[in-house]
């Protein structure tokens, strides 16, 4: 019933004391830099969070802060650093490193370091106008609000560098395929390549928006930008980017968590199917962010709504498969009964618990996502506090908490240093989870009462304050959640800093990459599951995905491009 993972994972042991394992695996260092830089961005972004939570509790801290000009400047930093910078760095590190180790291939280090430095310099360039209040345009940067050119140039470098990492990973996979004809791609590599290919399709909108429109406009070369066209290009990328954040967490849930809890992957072919479906239908759904936009025909909104509902199917598959892997592991550990087996899972381990809590948050986040797909619900919740409530339990918990848990084994693996305090690590994930649950409750509730999102409501006039008073209870919840999350963040970053600054252990065993085995492997005994054989054609899936996007977006985008109504930029903050 068991098998070893295919493709000969890189099991070269590390020699401690000589280059701390970098000699055997020099790509450990660039991976570490990607992760650490991402976490540093997250630290700054997260520390601004409680100020925003207090704003939503009606407490205005911003008017008294020396270093931030406004709530909106703080919110721009919070959104850009957490949702764009942290995720892009962390994913670039993770989804390059894991396939390399699984295939036993070393990446070209010049390319990898080049991507890292491009990303870092881009982030630094974008940070300058953000910090000087010259790019207070929030992380959606809708024109005609016009930020400083450096903001757009830095953002473009960040995205470009991520694409370089993606191309590198896909190239490594393709080289392996050519050296190993007829063999099935191992599961982690399959998932990583599918994710990167999805990102190639998905990032096109943002790339065109920033390169063709926003950079020339902010430099004064062009006079205006069509705001609807820019919004459409933004959301072309803006929805699938959430899968770019989520799928690396799925990689861990599907392929690493089973080993971490002492079990195996129960169903590999359907895991591949889920990723293939994400590659196909993540992108042509973006109009669901524009249901309330005039200027887009209702028919296209309805078509995108259908696809949005369908993209829930691979997530529902994931829920089943991951839960089955959990039950399998728990029964191996002696679990019995319908419910009682859950108690047998390794709840004292922060690596498992962080990810299990991330999964639980995604049950709510995913269900909310299905609700948001509906045009009818959207009319009630669009641009209300409901929306940030939703994405803080998806990217803010399902993704972020999974990355926390991954960092608990991956940072020791990369550095040869022991996790500083497994106990504090465990507390940190519980605090984060609890904080986000309270936050989501408060924000969803406020949204249903019509409280707008991203407004400095604590500084609103008495007339609107009187209206907001009806939401006093959920607003208090948001404020409290900010404090719980602050504790969680302090505990988490405390452990991370203590680990990274700690002493390297002499002669210690390397923490292994927890590649899981499968109950039934895809290519065992030469019998390859029929579905696996079909899904192995990732290039074909990639081109089908492009064609699908051309059909679903082409007519509207072409019409908008041919019929532009540019509007001049404005700085109103």
């Amino acid at each position: 019933m068991t098998s070893t993972p295919l493709g000969g994972p890189d099991t070269t042991p590390d020699v401690r004391g000589r280059g701390h394992g970098y000699a055997a695996h020099p790509h450990k260092k660039v991976t570490l830099y990607f992760l650490a830089t991402g976490l540093l961005a997250l630290l700054i972004g997260v520390l601004i969070g409680p100020l925003q939570a207090l704003n939503y509790a009606g407490v205005d801290v911003y008017s008294h802060l020396p270093f931030l000009k406004s709530y909106y400047q703080g919110l721009s930093l919070h959104g850009v650093l957490n949702a764009l910078v942290f995720t892009t760095f962390f994913i670039s590190g993770l989804l390059l490193y894991l396939p390399c180790r699984e295939l036993g291939v070393r990446p070209n280090l010049i390319v990898a370091w080049g991507a890292y430095w491009t990303m870092t310099v881009g982030t630094a360039l974008a940070a300058v106008p953000l910090l000087t209040n010259d790019a207070t345009v929030l992380y959606t940067f809708y024109p005609p609000l016009m930020g400083h050119p450096l903001f757009y140039i830095g953002a473009a470098m960040l995205v470009a560098a991520s694409l370089v990492v993606g191309i590198q990973t896909v190239t490594i996979w393709w080289g392996w395929k050519r050296r190993n004809p007829g063999r099935v791609t191992p599961i982690v590599t399959y998932m990583s390549v599918a994710t990167w290919m999805m990102w190639f399709v998905a990032s096109l909108g943002l790339v065109v928006e920033v390169l063709v429109f926003l950079i020339p406009w902010s430099l004064g070369i062009t006079k205006g930008v069509d705001p609807l066209l820019a919004r459409t290009l933004f959301w072309y990328t803006g929805h699938p980017i959430v899968y770019f954040w989520l799928l690396p967490a799925y990689v861990s849930w599907y392929a690493l968590v089973p080993r971490q809890m002492g079990g195996r992957i129960v169903s590999e072919p359907l895991a591949r199917l889920a990723f293939a479906l994400f590659l196909l239908i993540s992108t042509p759904v973006g109009f669901h962010h524009q249901y309330t936009d005039p200027g887009i025909p209702a028919l296209w909104k309805v078509v995108h709504m259908l696809l949005t509902f369908l993209v829930a199917v691979p997530s529902l598959l994931t829920a089943f498969s991951v839960a089955a892997s959990m039950e399998y592991a728990a029964r191996l550990r002696g679990g019995r009964g319908w419910i009682r087996w859950m108690g047998r899972l390794p709840w004292k381990d922060a690596i498992f618990t962080g990810q299990a809590l991330a999964m639980i948050s995604f049950i709510f986040g995913g269900a909310g996502g299905i609700a948001n797909a509906s045009m009818a619900i959207d009319a009630v919740v669009h641009n209300t506090a409901w929306i940030p409530g939703h994405f803080h339990i998806t990217v803010g918990t399902a993704t972020t908490l999974t990355f926390f848990a991954v960092s608990f084994w991956l940072l020791p693996h990369l550095t040869g240093k022991k996790l500083a305090s497994p106990r504090v690590a465990l507390w940190s994930v519980w605090f984060w989870f609890a904080g986000m649950m309270v936050f989501a409750l408060g924000m969803h509730w406020e949204g249903l009462l019509g409280i707008p999102r991203r407004a400095q409501i604590s500084a609103a006039g008495p007339e609107l304050q009187a209206v907001y008073h009806k939401a006093a209870v959920p607003m208090a919840l948001t404020g409290i959640s900010g404090m719980i999350l602050l504790v969680g963040a302090v505990l988490y970053f405390g452990v991370i800093f203590a680990t990274l600054l700690g002493r390297r252990e002499a002669g210690a065993q390397e923490v292994p990459v927890p590649f899981s085995e499968q109950v039934a492997a895809a290519g065992k005994d030469g019998r390859v599951h029929a579905m696996t054989r079909v899904l192995e054609n990732l290039w074909a899936l990639f081109f089908v995905a492009l064609a699908l996007v051309a059909v679903m977006y082409g007519p509207e985008l072409v019409a908008m491009l041919l019929n532009q109504h540019p509007v001049p930029g404005a700085r109103l903050w």
Binding site: Y72, L138, Y142, P144, L145, P227, L228, R231, V266, S267, L270, Q290, Y291, T292, D293, P294, G295, A298, M305, F309, L310, A312, V313, L316, L317, F320, S321, A324, E327, R331, I370, A373, S374, M375, A376, D378, A379, V380, H382, N383, T384, G450, P452, R454, A455, Q456, I457, A459, A460, G461, E463, L464, V467, V519, A520, H565, V567, A570, L572, W573
Partner: protein, 161 residues
Amino acid sequence: MRHDVIERYELGWMGVSVVLVVLLFVGVLASMISDTLPGVVESRTRFVDPAHLETTAYAKPGLHEENGELHAYVVARAFTFTPSVLTIPAGRRVTFHFTAADVLHGVQIEGSNINFELIPGHEGVASATFRTPGTYTSACNEYCGAGHQNMAFKLIVENAK
């Protein structure tokens, strides 16, 4: 746990998922047909020049009667709605027209399903009948700059005199 057993359950679960999401989709279509979702079909793709609103129907914002129908024109501009207070009669169907003059704004009329992203050059159009007299206050719900949090729109619904 045997692999083939799990796979059978899993395929069943996938079937249930597909049926579930298709049913949800049909449910939303039903709500659109039953007129609980104003503004989706009525917002035509007509360009309204934000630099020359005086040449459009938005030249005189406010409530107008056209051919026996009530039309309300509202312009969003940083950081006010014009008019900022709109009075309409209870029980009569009113067609609201919203547009933005400078940057993006947003409006969600309290107590209704009218919710528009207001984009310069485009107009959100929705018809609705407010039956309960009262004051409905909404804030601009798309970030538009430093005064965003104080940009309010008040709809007063009065009994016909």
